[in-house]
Every structure is written in structure tokens, then in C-alpha cells.
């Protein structure tokens, strides 16, 4: 009886935590994909890993460690250039170094006990079965902040991401906006890594949004589709984990595989979409004069 209750609560936490992550990742991911900064998100998750293991070593709250390191990285990227687009060499180096630091912290930390070693694995690949209600509250607060900030900057951010020259001409503060978005991204990745680990965070940030952008050219619809896909993929992955015939396959595998599949499907569907458009507008050059 007690065991059953415990199990069901674990499951409920996994579903709630997964939904929080999926919603925020779906929203932030849309802008991430438009700005071609997917690689930066990858770097932030690895930096988050270093922050979390470093914090564990120091005995500090791991979310705090992740947020501090990610925000520092955001500031660094912001100083590097007003657009992170194409900054792949710098980001790649930071990413590897952060992962290396994380491994160092983890190896020192895990020497103290076997349990500690497991918690490091959880940060990397996520165990959605260890989410507790404090994690959920913390993550919810961070994600709500991120979505709130995004709702304030979304119009200039979209303008700046899609039509940078036009936005600059209209007086949109490009540098400040870029820095603000990186800060939102840092906060998002930190909160998501806390709940589901770096693998799922990166996968939920990138795949659903990229799939949505392939399927529609309406911004509002794309964000809605991206969020819906992220939540759908997460919950379906959890259902498969808990109820699948082959049990004990990690949720991280299911969810990341489903996310990749969704993106693949969107590529196929996009081809059909575009061909239809091309048929409707056989020669885009035809003028109406």
C-alpha cells in the first residue's frame, strides 16, 4: 500500500516536472531556433552541469550553482558578440571546458559515497523518478520568471531575430536584447537541468521548436505547436517508461528518441508543405504591378 502510494507520487512528480520543463523549453526553444543558437543552449546545459556538480561539492543548492555559472556564461557570450550566431568555435571550447570541469567536480564528489556518484549521473542524463516537490517548486518559480521575461521582450526579440537590419533601423536595442535572451536561456536551462538533466533539456529545447518552425510560418502558432509537441513527447516518453512492455528503459532515452522522431517527421511534412506552396505560387517573381 505504502509502496504503491510512493510510486504514484513519484509518477505524479515526473509528469508535473516534465510538463513544466516542456512548456518553458517549447517557448524559449522557438526563439533559440530562430536565432540559430541551438549550440549555445547545448553549452549552457553543460555549464549547468559544471555548476550543479560544483555546488554539490561545496554543499550549496545545486540550482543556485547552475544559475550562477549559466548567467556568468551568458554575460561572457554577451560580451563576445551582440549575436551569438556562428560563434561556434568559442562556444565549442567553453562547452568542452565546462563538461571537463563538471567531470572533475563529479569525480571528487563521488569519492565520498556511491549515492553521490548516482546524483551526478542524474544531472547528466536525468532521472525523472527522483524529482521531489521542492525541486518542482524551485523549477516552477524559475520557469515562470523565464516565461514572464520572454513575454515582455517577445516582440522586439522576434523582430531582431528575423529581420536584424530592420529592427536596428527601428531602434531596437540589439545588444541588450541579445543579452536578455541569453539570461532567459541561462535561467531556463538551469531550471530544466535540475529536473530532467542536460540530455533532455537540450533535446526538449531544440527538437520541438525546430519541428514547429518547419510546420508553420505563423509565430504564435509555432510557439503553441512547439509547447504542445514538447509536452506530448515528454508525457508519451513517461508513459512508455512506466507502462511499456520492456520496462526499466530510461525515460531520457524514450523522450529524446521521440523528440528526434518528431523533428524527422516534420522534415518530411515540410517538404510536402513547400511543394504545395510552390504549386500555388509557381513563379514567385511574377509581379502584380
Amino acid at each position: 500500500m505504502l509502496k504503491e502510494l510512493l510510486t504514484s507520487q513519484i509518477i505524479a512528480h515526473a509528469f508535473i516536472g516534465g510538463a513544466i520543463v516542456a512548456v518553458v523549453a517549447g517557448c524559449v526553444g522557438y526563439f533559440l531556433v530562430l536565432r540559430a543558437q541551438a549550440f549555445a543552449a547545448e553549452a549552457f546545459t553543460d555549464i549547468g552541469f559544471a555548476g550543479a556538480t560544483g555546488a554539490a561539492l561545496l554543499g550549496v543548492e545545486s540550482l543556485a550553482g547552475m544559475i550562477i555559472l549559466s548567467l556568468l556564461a551568458a554575460a561572457g557570450l554577451g560580451i563576445l558578440g551582440n549575436r551569438v550566431r556562428g560563434r561556434d568555435v568559442e562556444i565549442g571550447m567553453v562547452l568542452c571546458f565546462a563538461l571537463g570541469l563538471g567531470v572533475l567536480f563529479l569525480s571528487i564528489y563521488s569519492r565520498t559515497s556511491a549515492l553521490h556518484s548516482l546524483s551526478g549521473i542524474n544531472i547528466l542524463f536525468g532521472s525523472m523518478l527522483t524529482i521531489n516537490s521542492k525541486d518542482i517548486l524551485l523549477a516552477f518559480a524559475s520557469c515562470a520568471t523565464a516565461v514572464g521575461a520572454l513575454s515582455i521582450v517577445h516582440r522586439p526579440l522576434l523582430f531582431a531575430s528575423v529581420d536584424p537590419a530592420g529592427a536596428e533601423a527601428r531602434g531596437v536595442p540589439m545588444r541588450a536584447l541579445s543579452a536578455a535572451f541569453l539570461a532567459i536561456l541561462a535561467l531556463t536551462t538551469a531550471a530544466c537541468v535540475l529536473l530532467v538533466g542536460i540530455l533532455l533539456t537540450a533535446s526538449l529545447l531544440i527538437a520541438p521548436a525546430a519541428a514547429a518552425v518547419n510546420l508553420t510560418n505563423r509565430p504564435a502558432r509555432a510557439v503553441a505547436l512547439s509547447v504542445a509537441t514538447a509536452v506530448g513527447v515528454t508525457w508519451l516518453g513517461l508513459v512508455l517508461t512506466f507502462a511499456g512492455t520492456i520496462r526499466h528503459l530510461p525515460a531520457g532515452f524514450y523522450i529524446s528518441a521521440l523528440a528526434a522522431l518528431t523533428y524527422g517527421a516534420s522534415l518530411v511534412l515540410r517538404k510536402r508543405f513547400r511543394t504545395m506552396r510552390a504549386f500555388e505560387y509557381p513563379h514567385a517573381d511574377r509581379e502584380t504591378g
Partner: protein
């Protein structure tokens, strides 16, 4: 030095004895001209003559070293809502994430903060300006699927939706085929009349514009000349501007400037 009648200073553009420089070197000296409401001006001149710098001066991004600049009677300032500026380089080629109408809508509220909800009035405004530039047909098509000429129309619509009194177009005809260029030019000409908006259009080739512009502003060699194409694009005016012999040849209804690199 205040003697100008008030009316003159209220004009879209008023420049007197303006000197603009870059790194100690004068790009333009003694610029004096005015532009009136609804005027269509072509801005010509070789590379480095100061065409883009002049636009930046009007936009408040560059300060004059000396002289007086007025935009509708006021000093140039950044983010001036009375000026619509369409920059030269646009990276919209591969963009499938937004529709033509979204791009135009940016001109209305793309710079505003806060949540912002779609409204019927907003949609109507976007539809109206799309109609005005004859882009209604592809209002819902992804920007990445449109041709260069179609994108130029959207660029124009994005600027016009904010209702500016002065529009600055930096090389809108670059990389357009002749037919599309002609259509953009006659569209701009019509808008000057219907909206009473003053337009300064930077270009390398005056020929497609000859029948449409009111005046030509020719920048070269640190100086400028302004007037009708017939008076400015002549052997005498250009030779004195460049300070060396230049010839203008007319053939097939077009003007060709010889003896300079344009």
C-alpha cells in the same frame, strides 16, 4: 545665424553649411539643400562619396562637424518616428518562420515591449499597407519564398506602416532585375504623391529613375549638387563637381557618365 523663415525649417530635410567627416577626413563639406514634402529624390554618387553617411546624419547616428541640420524643424535624433529607414542589407533569404504580414507588422509594434495581443485594428492596418504596396496576394506566404522584388515591397510596407513623413531607402534596387526595379520605382513615385511623403532613394544607376524623380542629389569629391536630372547630370555640373573632365553621353534614352568610376 537665424534668419531663415520658419516655413523653410519645417521642411522634411533642411541642411545648411553642413560638414560631415570620418576619422578627420571630410566626406562632405558645405552641404546646403532642402527637401520638400512629397518630393522624390535620387541620391547618386561614387562609392565613399558619403551617401550612406548622409542617411546616418539624418537618422541622428552621425553628428555634423559643422552646420545646421533639421528634420521637420527639429534636430536629428535616434529612433525618430518621422523617418522611415529601409537599410540596404537584409538577411531574410532563408526565413520561413514568418509570413509577409508578420514582417510588415514589425514596422508597427515590433519595437514595443510587453505582451501585446493581436487586434482587429492591427490586422486592418497591416492589410491596408499591404494593399498599398500591392502585396496582398502573398500576405500569408513565408518571407523566404518571396522574390527580391516582393521583399522590397514588404520592406517599403514595413516602413510606411509607421506613417513617416520622410522615407530613406538605401539601395533598394540593388540585386533586382530591371522589371522589378521599374515596378518598385513607380510604386515609390505613386506613394510620394498619394502620401505626400518625401523619399530619398540611394542608387547607383539613375536611368530607371529618370522619368520618376523630382530631383537628383549627386555627391562626389566631398561636394554635392542638387537639381533636376537635366541640370545635374550634365558635362558641366559633373565636371565641376569631380574637378576633372567628365562627359555625359545620351543614348537610347539613357544617360551614361564617362570618365569616372560610379
Amino acid at each position: 545665424m537665424r534668419a531663415e523663415p520658419d516655413g523653410m525649417e519645417r521642411l522634411p530635410v533642411f541642411l545648411r553649411n553642413v560638414r560631415i567627416g570620418f576619422g578627420g577626413r571630410a566626406i562632405q563639406d558645405e552641404m546646403t539643400f532642402t527637401i520638400e514634402d512629397g518630393e522624390f529624390i535620387a541620391v547618386l554618387g561614387p562609392n565613399g562619396a558619403g551617401k550612406t553617411t548622409l542617411l546616418k546624419l539624418l537618422l541622428g547616428l552621425v553628428q555634423p562637424e559643422t552646420g545646421e541640420v533639421r528634420i521637420f524643424g527639429r534636430k536629428p535624433r535616434r529612433g525618430n518616428p518621422e523617418i522611415g529607414y529601409a537599410p540596404q542589407f537584409r538577411t531574410l533569404d532563408t526565413n520561413f518562420a514568418v509570413r509577409a504580414r508578420d514582417l510588415v507588422g514589425f514596422g508597427l509594434d515590433g519595437h514595443r515591449w510587453g505582451p501585446g495581443f493581436p487586434s482587429r485594428k492591427r490586422r486592418m492596418l497591416v492589410d491596408q499597407v499591404l494593399e498599398e504596396v500591392r502585396a496582398s496576394e502573398y500576405a500569408d506566404v513565408a518571407v523566404g519564398e518571396l522574390s527580391g522584388g516582393e521583399k522590397q515591397r514588404l520592406s517599403l510596407a514595413q516602413v510606411l506602416i509607421a506613417n513617416p513623413g520622410l522615407v530613406l531607402l538605401d539601395e533598394p534596387l540593388a540585386s533586382l532585375d530591371i522589371a522589378s526595379a521599374h515596378e518598385i520605382i513607380s510604386l515609390v513615385g505613386r506613394l510620394c504623391v498619394s502620401r505626400k511623403v518625401a523619399v530619398m532613394l540611394v542608387t547607383h544607376d539613375i536611368n530607371p529613375l529618370l522619368q520618376h524623380v523630382n530631383r537628383v542629389l549627386y555627391l562626389a569629391n566631398g561636394r554635392c549638387a542638387i537639381g533636376s536630372p537635366e541640370t545635374v547630370i550634365t558635362r558641366e555640373t559633373l565636371s565641376s563637381l569631380y574637378n576633372h573632365p567628365v562627359d555625359v553621353v545620351e543614348a537610347m534614352g539613357k544617360k551614361f557618365v564617362l570618365g569616372v568610376e560610379t
